[in-house]
Amino acid sequence: MPMAKTAAVPLLLAFALIATAQDKPANPLGASPQVAEAGRLLYNKSCTACHGPDGTDGDRAPALDGNRRYFRVSEAAIFEVVKNGIPGTVMPSSGLSDNDVWRIVAFIRNVRATASDLVVPGDAQNGMAVFNGAGGCVRCHMIRGQGGLLGPDLSSIGAQLSLIRLKDALTKERPVPNGFRPVTAVTAKGEKLSGVAKNSDAFSLQLLDAQGKLHLLDMSELRSVEFSKKSLMPRSFDKTLTATQYRDLLAMLAVQARTKVRAPLQGENEIGR
């Protein structure tokens, strides 16, 4: 039956396409900042008995952002677990309407996005003034060629960190990244050098001081070397800055992406004013 065979192929293809579409429906509400914000409020109301607020970790359930890999990445997969729970675990079905579940889905996807993918409320221009002034950030950090050399370059930080991790960096003690470990070395002549270790091993130390000068040292020439586990980065910007300054600093850091940055949304700069 050659005719029937040839007809069956397009029919199967059509089924396959429908099946795929049903597996991964796009969020019918879209992923606008408004939808995600509505989802955040719903999430904080409905899910924080176990999870922490805003997607952080809670007493009985994990954070939804962070440094782990997730089994459920697609919108459809997240919809499924929020709607129906995860059998065999303490994750229950939410009992929310489909639209509310989709709002939460939009929020969770945002939590996992890099900060530069989000609309972060605040005045980025004022945030740059805080970076250069009250925050003191510019002494150690550089953005697009302007600033200090001691800390990591932040020209693309919005594309590297999620918003939660960005907030953590400003407010919580974090491990010191490679190349930025504080170190104090005393030479055989008694000269004291302080800065960060760009590199080191049992025999040599490459030390960058606050003046941006590299010191290439042999361990055998040093009287003492002291590495600090604690970062030079102050971690209390939520307390030392005003609420507006902190918000604006975050908004400015969030948009730092050296590669392509999304186009600003209409009215974006008014948000939060």
Binding site: G148, K198, S204, G212, L214, L216, E226, L232
Partner: protein, 533 residues
């Protein structure tokens, strides 16, 4: 450690960023090209690649041993010339710069351009004050902080989508960063740019192809000047007294069919002398008028002050890809002397008193093919030569071999497509040979030669030292030291991989190091020390 105490103490000496004094490479240092550092692509503005260091010399070179190896991640065919400033070495490959501790090869920082266009090679950085300058496969000039590799600014030299890229090491003179462009083989017109070293702003551009109405435009038939080539893919030289830059200009396009571009095709295949302040051309000298063999004249112009016919003269020596060695008066571009530096040269019978080649009719690419010697790859190429003031000899890597050269008709297509109108095939059954040759500066006469046995391609360029040595890295992986007076090999080390870069030398902690990029690594050599005692 008490951070509350530590942070203010750290900044005590630097209350404001603008007052911070960073490690500096000054104009004076660049002019003097002191022996401790290796500050420019060819070691000094005169491009002699001669170092005054002599700890490693004809008597001690036998004790030269590897000191460290730095593997450049992902490298396959490095052409980088290391730049060394006060114990920090900067090396590159396309889109990437690495700063390593020049004493031990430990990495200090790395820079990666993202997104990275794949186009090679890259030949190294320039340094000035607190910045490192680097050009990219997408034809940008980038300034990095010398101590951390952070991007300070970037400037677009040309449109990568047109087909341009930048492989050459820039050169900085008196606050101007000089950056060239490639290629000529796509019919893209070349230029040399000067940029402000502080801001990245373009100060001037020398266009190597004159537009209609400009001097030299009469050397291009019809509209052929529009897709004419003439690029600047190697680094040039500078004379501080004359305030002139000397830059080699590449081939005309289409490379192998000159029928569509009747005329001498200025300023392709020239060395041009440009005023540093304005970029205006003071003089030019054309080695191969109306070239049809892709014999880019970008080979390094070497500046020497030496007696010529009884008088001290300001000279420029140049071994061209076309097989002739040239000696010019660099104040005015006048031809003084010239001679072939390869034996296999069939396209010209000699040079006129003005230095113009006397062509042999018919020895050029044809539809059915013609044997032309040297081949398009040339008798010399980008491998830097060296000059020793102690021996008075000019040292060059010379290749002997012929090509079977064809031409065809081809239409220029914008967007970075080949516009060569065919080319040549290296004669495979030919007896290809590569030599290090020492030429008398003023006559070009061969004083000695050392064959790179086992090599059928150039390999890397040369380094001369006051220790009486010529260092030479070969395609077959041998890195050797030759006696500058006799060419005798005094030391060698098999690196296990192809070498396509020229060596440098510097001191760190009072000890002389000789370093070279092999295909995948930077290798540093110094005199043996017994640390067990």
């Amino acid at each position: 450690m008490n951070l509350r105490k530590f942070l203010p103490a750290l900044f005590a000496a630097a209350p404001l960023l603008s007052q911070v004094i960073l490690a500096q490479v000054t104009d004076k240092q660049l002019l003097e090209a002191g022996e401790a550092n290796w500050l420019t692509y060819n070691g000094s503005y005169d491009s002699r690649r001669h170092s005054a260091l002599k700890q490693v010399n004809t008597s001690t070179v036998g004790a030269l041993v590897p000191k460290w190896v730095y593997h450049v991640p992902g490298a396959t065919a490095l052409q980088t010339v290391p730049i060394v400033v006060d114990g920090v070495m900067y090396v590159t490959q396309p889109n990437e710069v690495y700063a390593v501790d020049a004493r031990n090869g430990r990495q200090i920082w790395d820079y990666h351009r993202i997104p990275a266009r794949q186009k090679g090679p890259n030949r190294g950085v320039a340094v000035y004050r607190d910045k490192v300058y680097f050009t990219t496969p997408d034809a940008h000039l980038i300034a990095l902080a010398a101590s951390t590799g952070q991007v300070l600014w970037e400037t677009k030299i040309a449109e990568a989508s047109d087909g341009y890229w930048s492989p050459a090491a820039p050169m900085v003179v008196k606050g101007k960063v000089l950056a060239g462009i490639a290629p000529g083989d796509h019919g893209l017109n070349g230029f040399l740019d000067a940029y402000d070293a502080v801001t990245g702003e373009r100060l001037w551009r020398f266009n190597s192809i004159p537009k209609p109405g400009e001097a030299g435009s009469e050397t291009w038939a019809g509209d052929s000047w529009k897709s004419a080539g003439g690029n600047t893919w190697l680094t040039g030289s500078y004379d501080p007294d004359l305030n002139l830059l000397y830059w080699g200009i590449g081939n005309p396009a289409p490379d192998f069919n000159g029928d569509v571009r009747a005329g001498d095709n200025l300023y392709t295949e020239c060395v041009v002398a440009l005023d540093l302040d304005t970029g205006k051309m003071k003089w030019y000298f054309q080695f191969t008028p109306h070239d049809t063999m892709d014999w880019d004249a970008v080979e390094i112009p070497v500046l020497v002050d030496a007696p010529f016919e009884g008088n001290m003269r300001k000279l420029m020596a140049h071994a061209d890809r076309n097989g002739f060695y040239y000696l010019l008066d660099r104040t005015n571009g006048k031809f003084l002397a010239g001679a072939p530096f390869v034996k296999r040269l069939n396209w010209a019978s000699g040079l006129t008193p003005e230095g113009r080649p006397i062509r042999i009719p018919g020895i050029e690419p044809t539809l059915k093919g013609t044997v032309v010697c040297p081949a398009a790859i040339g008798a010399a190429n980008w491998q830097s030569p060296a000059y020793s003031p102690e021996t008075g000899l000019f040292y060059v890597v010379a290749q002997e071999g012929c090509g079977f050269a064809h031409k065809s008709t081809e239409t220029f297509r914008p967007g970075g497509f080949q516009y060569r109108a065919t080319g040549d095939v290296n004669m495979k059954d030919d007896d290809w040979k590569v030599y290090v040759r020492a030429l008398d500066l003023t006559t070009g006469k061969l004083k000695w030669e050392s064959e790179r046995i086992g090599s059928t391609g150039f390999g890397g360029g040369l380094l001369s030292t006051a220790g009486g040595l010529i260092f030479s890295g070969e395609q077959n992986g041998q890195f050797g030291a030759l006696d500058a007076k006799s060419g005798k090999t005094l030391w060698h080390f098999y690196t296990g991989q192809q070498i396509t870069a020229q060596p440098v030398t510097y001191t760190v902690g009072g000890k002389q190091i000789v370093a070279i990029a092999t295909a995948t690594d930077i290798m540093a050599f110094g005199l043996f020390e017994d640390h067990s005692k």
